[in-house]
Every structure is written in structure tokens, then in C-alpha cells.
Amino acid sequence: MMNFWGFSIAEARVIDYDKNDKSLAEMLAEEMPTTRLCIGCGGCSATCTAGNLTEFNIRKLQMLLKRGETKDLRDQLHKCMLCGKCLLVCPRGVDTRKMILFLFRQLSEQDHNS
């Protein structure tokens, strides 16, 4: 990055929806249609043990994924303890735990292939 006289050009914070790669979200929706049903109520993240102790936020994570913002996914996913409390709370019946496992598998496959 250019840095003249102490000034630099920051990377834009905007979600660049046109450029972002949403293929993982599409695969997820195909494999697990219930993940389409989230209304963002936050019931899952309210009850989440991992979310109460760390930055992990399952609601936000899946929303970022849907927008193609997958950067955080890799750092965050392993914090889930698969306790399944989110599953009990969800008013839309999203299979949250299976979603985590699916994403785990996809990411490790990607790592394996690269």
C-alpha cells in the first residue's frame, strides 16, 4: 500500500456484493435448505456458550457467509462446541449444528485441495 507523508488508502469496508464469492453459501443452501430460513432473531447466539465467552456469533457468521464475506469463517468456526442449544431455540427450525459441520467439511476439503 502506498504511504506518502503518513497517509494511506484504507481498504473499503463495504460488502462488495458483486465481487464476493457466494458459492459456499449456495452450496450450503442446496445441501441444507433450512439455512435459508434464518430471520436473524439472534436466539441462537443468545444461548450460545461459545458466543458468551468468545467473539463467536453463529447468527452473524452465517449472514456473513450469505453475503460472501467468508474471511472470518475460518477463524471462528472451530469455537463452536456443537452443544446444539441453538438448535433448541431456533424459531425457524434451522439445523444450525449440521450447518457448522457442513462448513467444517467444506473448509477442510478446500484446504486439502489447495
Binding site: I39, G40, C41, G42, G43, C44, S45, A46, T47, C48, G51, N52, N57, R59, K60, K85, L88, V89, C90, P91, R92, G93
Partner: protein, 340 residues
């Protein structure tokens, strides 16, 4: 000609009066000892804060029309159709006949015990929106330990939009009811902190959004976007709640002195029974299915059987009364064209 109406809540009362005014004979059946239905449990109406009992009195007064016969404390035990007429057997032995049947069996409120994780019936300071209306009627708000609540939380969508309770639908009215009740509560408790926990604020009616705005501006009501995951109780009998503050993206915990559950609407047990007796179909939301959502909103899959009010979907009073008038018109049109 005569029309049999089952249910003397606002919809049944209004339809009865409209049909009576048009010259039809009306047999109005009500299972309770008095007409009015769920309106009997309400203190003030949104958005104008009209006295619910004043409106109730107006509706009931009109039942004195000479064309209306009111059967209180009665339930149909048998409904037959014979040569184009309906024969309704009542539990008191009476046999009523009519050319058309109007079902106005209404709704019942969600049984909050079913949402066990919110602690209704387990924790002392968890109440429902209906109980709060009763508090307003008596102008007495206090916690189970006899204190004035310093912090009160309203929980939206209890038994609505929740597949865990098998209620997929939005009950529509709870959002604006919460706003109305929060305002009423503020007038009684000027110093308390009052919060609404919502998933979406659905201010669908005229004047509702204005009321929401006024609640924020004039009445200092706070709104948190997040659905409660669970509640617990401490030694002081306060309610501890957990939700995510979704607009911040962090889990939130809070202690409430009083928690109000905004219970949703379901088809009433009476309406359900009538549907079984008459073969009326139910829609996926559990309410009775209308023949067409645009052109035949009061007709059913059964010829001669009509619907009015909240037995076909959650409705506010404005829509219930309008629907009842529409049902009366539809029935008059039907009576004109049937062959006897």
C-alpha cells in the same frame, strides 16, 4: 329468512346487527354467559386508546334489536343440513333452523405455559399481556413481592412465528399491543425502565407507526432487536433474561422486575370444534380457510357456511368489525339467490 351465528364476540355481534337491520332473523349463539368474547379481557384499544368496554357496551346494546335472538351459555351439539336448511341442536335442547350459518368463533390466546423456557407459571414475575390488561383495569401494577417494578420487559412473538410451538404465523397485533401497553405502563410508572424485545416491529395499521414513534420519543420506551432464548429467576424473584442484541452483535443479559409475554393468537377451541362438525377446511396457519383470499373472504368450502372475524386469521378490532359487515353483505347476497 334466518341466519344462525355461532359466537357473540365483536364479529358475531356486528354481523348479527347488520343482518338484523337488513331484515333477516338472527339466532346468535354464545357459549359464555355474556357476549363480547375476548374483548371482555381488554382495557384500552390501540391506536386511539378507546375504552374497550365502552365499545363492548355499544356492540352488546345493539343485540336488543327485535330481529336478534341471543342464546347465552349455549353450544351447538349437532349441526345438520336438511333440504337447504341448517338445523342446529343446542345443549339446552333448543333446535334452531336457518338458511345460512355464520361461524364467528374467534381466536384464543397462546397458552404461555407451552413456552416453558420463558418460565410462565414457574417464575412469579412472568405475566402475559392479558394479565397486564387486567392490571390496567384495576390500575395496580406490582411485582409478586409487592414492589413497584423498576424495569419491565415486553417479549414479542410468544407463540407466534415459532415452529417450536407449531405456530408459524405472525399474530400481527402483538407488536402494536406491546407498544400500547408500554405507553400505558409508562403513565403509571414514570420512573421505570421499559423495554421491548422484538424480532421485527410490524406496525401494519393506520396510526400504529406513529404510536411506535411516540413510544420512543414521548414515553421513553427502549427497543432491543433480539429474541429471548431463555429466562431464569434469582433469589429476589427477579427474572434474568438472555437475548442477543442483534443490532450490536453481542449476547445480552438483563435483570427484569417484571416480564410481560406478548402471547399470540390461535384458532379458538370452539372454532376448531365447529370446523370439525361442519367440515370446514383449515389453512396452514391453523385458522379456518376462506374460499378465496381476495374475492371470497367470508365464504368457505361448505356452501351456506360463512366466516367472520378472527376465526379465519389474526385480526384487530377494526378488521374484525369490517369483516363482520362484509360477511353480512355476503350472506344477504347468498340468501337472495338460494332456491328454497
Amino acid at each position: 329468512m334466518s341466519v344462525i351465528i355461532i359466537g357473540a364476540g365483536p364479529a358475531g355481534c356486528e354481523a348479527a346487527y347488520q343482518l338484523a337491520q337488513a331484515g333477516e332473523k338472527v339466532e346468535l349463539i354464545e357459549q359464555e354467559a355474556q357476549p363480547g368474547g375476548n374483548l371482555n379481557n381488554w382495557y384500552q384499544l390501540f391506536p386511539d386508546r378507546k375504552s374497550a368496554q365502552e365499545l363492548n357496551r355499544q356492540l352488546i346494546l345493539r343485540l336488543e334489536h327485535p330481529n336478534i335472538r341471543l342464546h347465552l351459555g349455549c353450544m351447538p351439539t349437532k349441526i345438520d343440513r336438511r333440504e337447504g336448511r341448517f338445523e342446529v341442536q343446542l345443549n339446552d335442547g333448543a333446535l334452531l333452523t336457518g338458511q345460512a350459518l355464520l361461524i364467528a368463533g374467534g381466536f384464543q390466546l397462546f397458552n404461555a405455559h407451552r413456552k416453558e423456557e420463558y418460565g410462565y407459571g414457574i417464575y412469579e414475575n412472568v405475566i402475559t399481556s392479558v394479565e397486564l390488561e387486567n392490571f390496567f383495569t384495576n390500575q395496580r401494577i406490582q411485582t409478586s413481592t409487592g414492589q413497584l417494578p423498576k424495569r419491565v420487559g415486553f417479549i414479542h412473538c410468544v407463540g407466534s412465528r415459532d415452529e417450536k410451538t407449531c405456530n408459524f404465523h405472525c399474530s400481527k397485533l402483538c407488536c402494536v399491543t406491546a407498544v400500547k401497553q408500554a405507553i400505558e405502563l409508562r403513565e403509571i410508572l414514570p420512573e421505570a425502565e421499559i423495554l421491548c424485545f422484538y424480532m421485527d416491529m410490524r406496525m401494519f395499521g393506520p396510526g400504529y407507526e406513529e404510536m411506535y414513534r411516540e413510544a420512543q420519543e414521548k414515553y421513553r420506551i427502549k427497543f432491543v432487536r433480539g429474541r429471548l432464548s431463555e429466562a431464569s429467576e434469582n433469589k429476589a424473584k427477579q427474572v434474568l433474561i438472555k437475548a442477543e442484541d442483534t443490532l450490536i452483535g453481542k449476547p445480552l443479559k438483563m435483570t427484569l422486575d417484571l416480564m410481560v409475554l406478548m402471547v399470540g393468537m390461535e384458532l379458538s377451541a370452539g372454532s376448531r370444534q365447529l370446523a370439525e362438525m361442519t367440515g370446514i377446511e383449515k389453512a396452514t396457519n391453523g385458522f379456518l380457510r376462506v374460499k378465496d383470499p381476495h374475492f371470497a373472504t367470508n365464504e368457505t368450502n361448505q356452501k351456506g357456511i360463512f366466516l367472520a372475524g378472527s376465526c379465519s386469521s389474526p385480526m384487530n378490532l377494526t378488521d374484525t368489525l369490517t369483516d363482520a359487515r362484509s360477511a353480512a353483505l355476503t350472506i344477504r347476497e347468498y340468501l337472495k339467490h338460494i332456491d328454497l
